[in-house]
């Protein structure tokens, strides 16, 4: 993957979009990989008792997808410093998720070349279900 440099980044620029299609199998894999065995994410009857139409995608899986959006963009020499998300809507297995981001600020602080971003997960209807913010540090060109 190509390395992104601080000089390459402009305020207002968009990150390359990443698409994900979590399935029921993905949710089971995530339960095993993350240790989150809450039945809401794989047991239809349980989910319906709680008022959901069926199992929902783990919010933390969406967060993990967002970290991939960022680490893909910043390259091996970039550093993910901070990430914050709010879970405002539900995603369901089989629904395509679209992840994106936009640069909101560039600054140099404490010798670090920092880039602040808005990030989001949109559901298959284009509704922003998981907005958030992130801060990354990038290398400068020699």
């Amino acid at each position: 993957m190509a390395q992104l440099y601080f000089e390459d980044v402009k305020e207002g620029m968009d990150l390359p979009v990443v698409e994900k299609l979590p399935t029921t199998k993905t949710l089971v894999q995530w339960a095993g990989a993350s240790g989150d065995y809450f039945e809401l994410h794989y047991d239809k009857d349980f989910a319906q008792k709680l008022g959901f139409p069926g199992p929902i995608v783990h919010g933390r899986l969406e967060s993990a997808f967002l970290t991939q959006l960022l680490t893909d963009w910043i390259g091996e020499k970039g550093e993910l410093k901070k990430m914050s998300v709010q879970y405002r809507g539900n995603a369901f297995p089989g629904n395509k998720l679209t992840l994106g981001g936009k640069v909101t600020k560039k600054s140099v602080e404490g010798g670090q070349n920092l880039v602040e971003l808005q990030i989001w997960v949109k559901n298959h209807e284009g509704k922003e279900i998981t907005p958030g913010t992130a801060v990354v540090a990038l290398p400068k060109k020699k």
Binding site: Q29, A33, S34, D36, F38, G59, A64, T71
Partner: protein
Amino acid sequence: MAQPKKATLEDIKKLEGKKSQESMEIDQHMIHLFTECIGDPNPVWKKGIVPPGFITAAMVSGGAMVLGIPIPFPRSVAGGADWEFLRPLKAGDTLNTTHEFFELQDKSSDKGPRALMVYKSTHKNQKGELIAVSTNTIMSY
């Protein structure tokens, strides 16, 4: 996250400050399970570097699961979370995490009962160096 038993707001308020510690050694297989699940083929993660997203996994920063604090209302869902990544983590490192039930916020209104349960977690490596800090909010309604 887990769905623990219900309790009153007063009972839960008394549990603010409750802490729990856990420890896990990170190996390449755990990294593989994580990256395979999210569909992240970045070759960097095959070099023993732990993806920062690994810290988002419930077993790492899901204090709600570990502490078993009861919920006040019938339903609970994840409300939000934030992470600050301070040092890289590598395969072979041991991650020592302290979870704390930080506070209960009663947000009930004329629209109905609602509460936010805030958990904070501190993650250190085997040398005691701070790797990350995270906050996790559960909404019960």
